[in-house]
């Protein structure tokens, strides 16, 4: 196997097994993209993982993790109106953060072109909702491609880039979680490397780039005219194609990964419907749809998440007076979850039970099993923090969580973090909860990457409007949940060393006078700090610090520095179960006889548990046994 950079930068045709996210990087290279930006969020961060493998000096484009999705979009926009082909990528809900600037892009003459990669998350695998970002395409007048496989993602990126450059408009490429992470052999074309033109091409005459009052209307007209042209393209392009099964009665219109779910399910169907597979889902290939509707008596729209295509197809049928039976979603269940083969079978069975063999009755004799929810890692500083905070507060205190690893504090036994909206919401929400509230104290939580991403306005608002709650910043020195990306307080960015922006200094600079900073492993000290903070009126902050231990241990191993000895439970244990039921580090396991043992595959030897045992029965082993 060749090294990844060799494949990504190969001048010749090549091929490799890789996930969709990695294939996109090869597509960026081949399209001669010059500027790429992002903010990490599942399911997209592996795009950056692949970029990171290319040594900086060999990277044919500039890449940065910006401070949030909106800034990332703006950096890509700025590059594009200076003549560079640019790309921004982020997760589904990242688009909400980017939206304020993103909705303007369609109005702009993007002379370099710009591709926006969306990682939507049907099934809410790693997101707080299942939002269907195809809605944004219509709102912002931006065409949207939707690939089904890594190969299609790679090809459609190049198609999107070419279209964007030709029309000087933004183009969306919408992947869903299991297309991002889908692995297959991708066959890559040759790379015709284009040399960088370092001359800035920005010219206000290319615009106008100031959309204000009456200048908005001609810009909007231009955007709509471009969309009309893309609609013609949509009818011609082969990304929208018909799989002809010679069926004059029944047809299915579908797109994305559900297309392949359908092909799987059709192997069990007695009838083989024709399929119109859409690769460009806005604007739609109108003529292809008209023909497809005319050629069938009954057409089903098989569509994951919302009923966007269904409505459009029904409108096309109505406007063209086509006599065809069209069905889409049949009940509320059809709106939820990923359209896996199982789900597609369920959806189609409701429509056409006669096409299927009778369902096999469910096997009710299977042994029951408890679920395994995600956990904070062994040694996680957040666990020590929650353990200490729990000791300082009663159930009367309202705790507001935020996005990040510390969101997991909502799980038992900690049950900390009882409301969640979005990145950085906690201080606004906590402020609202504190109004007309003299009886219940409010605590908000915030991670350190989120502090910079969208946390600042809520904090400034709390200072500005004299709100009354305690903020606990869970500072672990990285963007942990998405794979340890650096943030502004770390002292380095994706590419190089950069000036640290310490959170403590920022808070002081904003005028927060009441700040306590505690390492979370000092649990008693943190408990006291929380008690003291809650006893005060007004807005105050506790910085609960401890480095992400997953990252820390990986670095120890990488540097071959050896790892600390693991802990064990001594005879002093009198089964109070504090370690298991209250501190709840996953390393502690219970035997059928009620005795406790340490699962050494999990224990990292951090020892943060020792202080939790009332009988001091937890000790480090003498030394690491090899």
């Amino acid at each position: 196997m060749k090294k990844l950079p060799e494949i990504l930068l190969s001048k010749e045709k090549t091929q490799e097994i890789m996930m969709g996210n990695w294939g996109l990087v090869r597509a960026m290279v081949e399209a001669n993209v010059r500027v790429v930006t992002s903010y990490p969020g599942s399911p997209t961060p592996e795009i950056a993982t692949a970029i990171a493998q290319i040594p900086k000096a060999e990277r044919p484009f500039y890449f940065e993790f910006s401070v949030n999705e909106k800034v990332a979009t703006e950096v890509a926009f700025g590059a594009s109106i200076n003549g560079h082909l640019s790309c921004v990528f982020f997760k589904s809900v990242g688009l909400n953060v980017a939206a304020d600037s993103l909705v303007q892009l369609g109005l702009m003459e993007l002379i370099g072109g710009m591709v926006i990669i969306l990682g939507d998350d049907p099934g809410a695998n790693s997101s707080q909702n299942e939002q269907d970002n195809r809605h944004f395409a219509k709102m912002a007048y931006i065409p949207i491609f939707e690939p089904s496989t890594p190969t299609e993602a790679y090809q459609m990126f190049k198609e999107a880039a070419a279209l964007s450059q030709e029309k000087k408009m933004p183009v969306f490429l919408r992947l869903t979680t299991h297309v991002c992470h889908y692995k297959e052999l991708i066959k890559f074309d040759a790379w015709n490397k284009k040399e960088l033109d370092p001359n800035p091409k920005f010219d206000a005459k290319n615009g106008p780039y100031i959309p204000i009052t009456t200048t908005v209307f001609p810009l909007k007209r231009k955007a709509l005219k471009k969309l009309d042209e893309v609609a013609d393209y949509s009818d011609k392009t082969t990304v929208n194609f018909i799989k002809d099964n010679g069926n004059n009665d029944v047809g299915i219109i579908t797109m994305g990964l559900p297309y392949y779910s359908l092909l799987d399910v059709m192997q069990e169907m007695k009838v083989q419907p024709d399929i119109l597979k859409l690769g460009m889902i806005y604007p739609l290939p109108k003529q292809k749809i008209i023909d497809f509707l005319k050629n069938h008596k009954e057409v089903k729209i098989l569509e994951e998440l919302d009923d966007i295509i269904e409505r459009d197809v029904k409108m096309i049928a109505f406007e063209n007076k086509i006599d065809v039976e069209i069905s889409g979603k049949s009940d509320l269940l059809d709106w939820e979850n990923e359209y896996t083969p199982d789900k597609v079978k369920e959806v189609l069975r409701k429509q056409w039970s006669q096409f299927f063999a009778p369902a096999i009755p469910k096997d009710n004799k299977k042994p029951k099993l408890t679920p395994r929810p995600a956990q904070m890692c062994p040694g996680c500083g957040h666990r020590s923090a929650f353990h200490a905070i729990r000791k300082a507060i009663n159930k009367n205190v309202i705790t507001v969580g935020d996005i990040g690893c510390h969101t997991l504090g909502f799980l038992p036994p900690y049950n900390i973090g009882e409301a969640l909206l979005s990145m950085g919401h906690s201080n606004g929400t906590a402020a609202g909860l504190s109004l007309f509230n003299t009886k219940r104290k409010v605590i908000s939580f915030l991670g350190d990457s989120t502090f910079f991403h969208a946390g600042l306005p809520g904090i400034i608002n709390a200072i500005f409007n004299n709100h009354n709650h305690t903020l606990i910043i869970m500072e672990n020195g990285t963007t942990a949940m998405t794979g340890h990306q650096d943030h502004p307080a770390v002292g380095k960015n994706f590419n190089e060393v950069s000036d640290k922006i310490p959170i403590l200094n920022m808070l002081k600079g904003m005028g927060v006078t009441n700040i306590r900073s505690v390492d979370t492993y000092q649990q008693a000290k943190l408990t006291q700090a929380v008690k003291d903070a809650l006893a005060e009126d007004g807005f105050n902050v506790i910085i609960a610090k401890h480095p992400c231990m997953l990252k820390f241990m990986r670095e120890l191993t990488k540097k071959k520095l050896g790892t600390p000895p693991k802990v064990h439970v001594t005879a002093k244990c009198n089964k109070t179960y504090e370690c298991i039921s209250v501190f709840a580090c996953p390393s502690y396991q219970v035997n059928p006889d009620g005795s406790i043992w340490v699962q050494e595959d999990l224990c990292i030897g951090d020892g943060s548990c020792k202080q939790t045992c009332p009988t001091q029965a937890i000790e480090s082993k003498a030394k690491e046994e090899k």
């Binding site: 695998n125 299991h178 896996t340």
Partner: protein, 189 residues
Amino acid sequence: MFADFNIFIIGVGGQGIGLLSEAVIRAAYCAGLQAKGVDTHGLAQRGGTVTSQIRLGSKAFSPLIQEGSADIVIALERHEALRGMNSHLKNGGDLVFYDAVWQPLDVRLMQTKETQNETIKAECKRREINYHRVFKDDLKNSKMQNVVVLGYIAKHNLIPGISKDNYLQAIKDLLTGTLLDQNLKVFEQ
């Protein structure tokens, strides 16, 4: 040989599902099979259940396996073995699992009992599933449990069409240096 063959891999975040899955899919390519796969990423990595699905053959379209239609479930933990068997393994299929125990939250909180091997064995018998428990007493590095399992699968030819040489080639593709040597040693045992 077969229209499609479905491999469902399951474990806990941190157990090395990624490498195991990558090795299988690469071995399949080495064997000249059509293969596709998908892993669960993101939030689930933090000590939660992780799965990887691999489908071989020309009639496998989606990378996602339908419930109850995996030909083999490969698990790296005992509870997850039962979970994967319950959700995806077909009756008459193969269950291969490394018998590590990482108790789920409810077990640790003593709200429910740990899954016992006898339960899994009895369930395999009831559903005519071939039971393969893998455990290596003297394994020094728990990170290599995945390769122990891979070695077992190779030795017993549990994935049709993929030979031991194919797995070896895949491991050599994926690892280098001392890590490769250590893993090869464990694989061969």
